[in-house]
């Protein structure tokens, strides 16, 4: 059982801004970080939300592992492309600005491609891809990350969970928003199974000898065992997930001249994360009238939803649909944060001189945040 407190978005956002400002992050940048973090909680991806404010960003800013000023620099640029140095700043700020640049380029030249090196973790990949939606563009966002995933036929963590997000606008339906780690599951999912005393499905993880394991204790972030790429084993075509993970590392780390694979830092290490990102915006109107495109998106989505269902299922989902449903509910009822995260924020905020004293709009007790 877990206690869930619900808050108004503006209250939490004000708090994040005050908290980050105290750590030297300019107010405008702090607002970006807050909006990215809270969008995760709003969309039900709480693993990437407020839970990381104190434990990840707060810690790393205090330890000077992140430059609070995010001094990004454009290293090379054309009408359609840019290579950006993230200045080892807040990944959200570098990414927000880089995606804006990709969109600007796509407004003028119909396509914009931006790659970023020397950045820090950017939160949920979908945030940046979705920035393209309001411009009637297709948005793409990727990042590499610390090594947690073994390549096919390997037995140690070499690749990040390297997510891919693509957002595509529709008309009456929710937009299509893919946001997927290229591993079968993220490490947090293994931890949940460990906590609940459950065995892992075979194909999620390997132990330190390289054998597939159902024991969550044998797959611990970066030093014991490894996650498996999407697909899992060879026979289940896990090498495709491995191929996608490597693609993300190439677009984020090689195209940018940044770091790759095991060169990327872990959050607990006292060093630059040195991750890279990749952003793209494609202007739909360059191909055909946006309204025709959006109507066809609705048609395709409707066809999928009308398709015959598997036993015990009465609904076929489109990528991002569950998150939109969750967002709708949470924007109405308040952003749900589990009580332990609020406790951490209260403790940390007190030490920092930024007391967390926001009143929740409601509270509830449930089996889990996602039940």
């Amino acid at each position: 059982m877990v206690e869930i407190l619900r808050f108004k978005k503006e209250d939490l956002l004000s708090y994040v801004i005050a908290y980050m400002s105290k750590l030297g992050v300019p107010e405008q940048d702090a607002e970006i970080v807050g909006d990215v973090l809270l969008s995760a909680d709003i969309r039900g991806v709480d693993s990437h939300g407020l839970i990381r404010l104190a434990s990840y960003y707060g810690n790393r800013l205090r330890n000077k592992n992140i430059n609070p000023l995010t001094p990004i620099k454009i290293l090379s640029e054309t009408e359609t492309t840019a290579l950006i140095d993230g200045g080892n700043g807040c990944g959200q700020v570098a990414s927000y600005k880089s995606m804006k640049i990709a969109i600007q380029k796509a407004k003028k030249s119909n396509v914009g491609v931006v790659t970023v090196k020397h950045s820090d973790h950017y939160g949920i990949a979908a945030y940046y891809a979705m920035m393209a939606l309001e411009e009637d563009m297709i948005g793409i966002s990727m990042t590499n990350s610390q090594p947690l995933v073994a390549p096919t036929y390997g037995r140690s963590a070499v690749l990040g969970t390297n997510p891919i997000s693509v957002a595509v606008p529709s008309y009456k339906e929710y937009p299509y928003v893919l946001d997927m780690a290229t591993s079968t599951v993220p490490i947090g999912r293994v931890k949940v199974f460990e906590k609940e005393g459950k065995k892992l499905p075979l194909g999620w993880a390997i132990d330190s000898d390289g054998n597939i394991t159902d024991d969550p204790k044998k797959c611990q972030s970066g030093y014991v065992g490894a996650l498996m790429p999407l697909g899992g084993s060879d026979i289940m075509r896990g090498y495709k997930g491995y191929g996608l993970a490597l693609l993300v590392d190439i677009l984020c780390g090689v195209l940018s001249g940044g770091s790759n694979l095991t060169e990327i830092g872990f959050p607990h290490e006292q060093r630059d994360a040195d991750v890279g990102h990749f952003f793209m915006a494609i202007n739909i109107n360059a191909f055909r009238p946006v309204i025709d495109f959006k109507n066809q998106m609705d048609h395709v989505i409707q066809m999928l939803k009308d398709a015959p269902k598997a036993p015990d299922h009465d609904r076929i989902y489109i990528a991002g649909e569950k998150e939109y449903d969750t967002e709708k509910y949470n924007m109405e009822h308040g952003i749900p944060i589990i009580a332990p995260v609020i406790e951490d924020l209260k403790n940390d905020g007190e030490k920092m001189g930024v007391p967390f004293n926001i009143k929740p709009v409601s509270s509830e007790v449930r089996d889990s945040l996602h039940s």
Copy 2:
């Protein structure tokens, strides 16, 4: 046991040109079709090679389901983008020309994005992505295809196996060449298991009731059961493969204003296939010097190859590496074609007045082409 005959590439190419010409395909176009088909056999993807000449392309040209003249038309165009009507012609010809256009645009504007509607099957996806390699560009190629794959929570074939290919140049190492169906396996793999009397791994296919099955007879192309998307079941994150399959359908079918999902024709149907394609070229030099990029690719590939191996494995592969090894061997020893395919060609060629009388350079008998 199967008899394998090996031929010189130029001999087979001459034959394909003569064969296609007889069916009204202009010689230059026939050469493109031949080169794409043979590149599949050369790279060990024989399912997409010469085996399809008579059974697929020959039949469909004879039945007037493909326009032999491939009258492509540019419907809209900008400095960086193009929307092309494939004229219901040979998919290889429309695709070759469209990828050339993407590359031309990337030469001038550093990025080129081309989408194609109203085309026919284009063969191996990697062929077009790899065209970017010689230009020191990153190449991307996708196509939608006839419905064989069920969406997560669905029980019927709605999506194509919709492949994604990405090619990235390196320096001393083989280029990275991803070429993956977004289903766990293609339907041909299920047929191989059926022929060999083997059970399917769970996660490849569902039966007509929507239950996961290990019986290959319960998953037959488009009318019984369906393939599962990469990942397989929900718990194994098959919805990611489903999300990728839909992405391909959007970029190939919606961005182009073409057909989607079950609107796409099966090869045996007497109608336009109406598939769409998507091509992109990204000029590496716009971001950083190509030689630096290529050296870093080599470095990343080497790091992966040096990573610790799983039990019973002494080699970690990079996407495309096995195909390059196969190509190297086959270009030296001759292109391997199994005897039954040659028999078909002889029968078909005789009827067509294009007798197949090429002498193989060698022959061998093996358990299977890939053993």
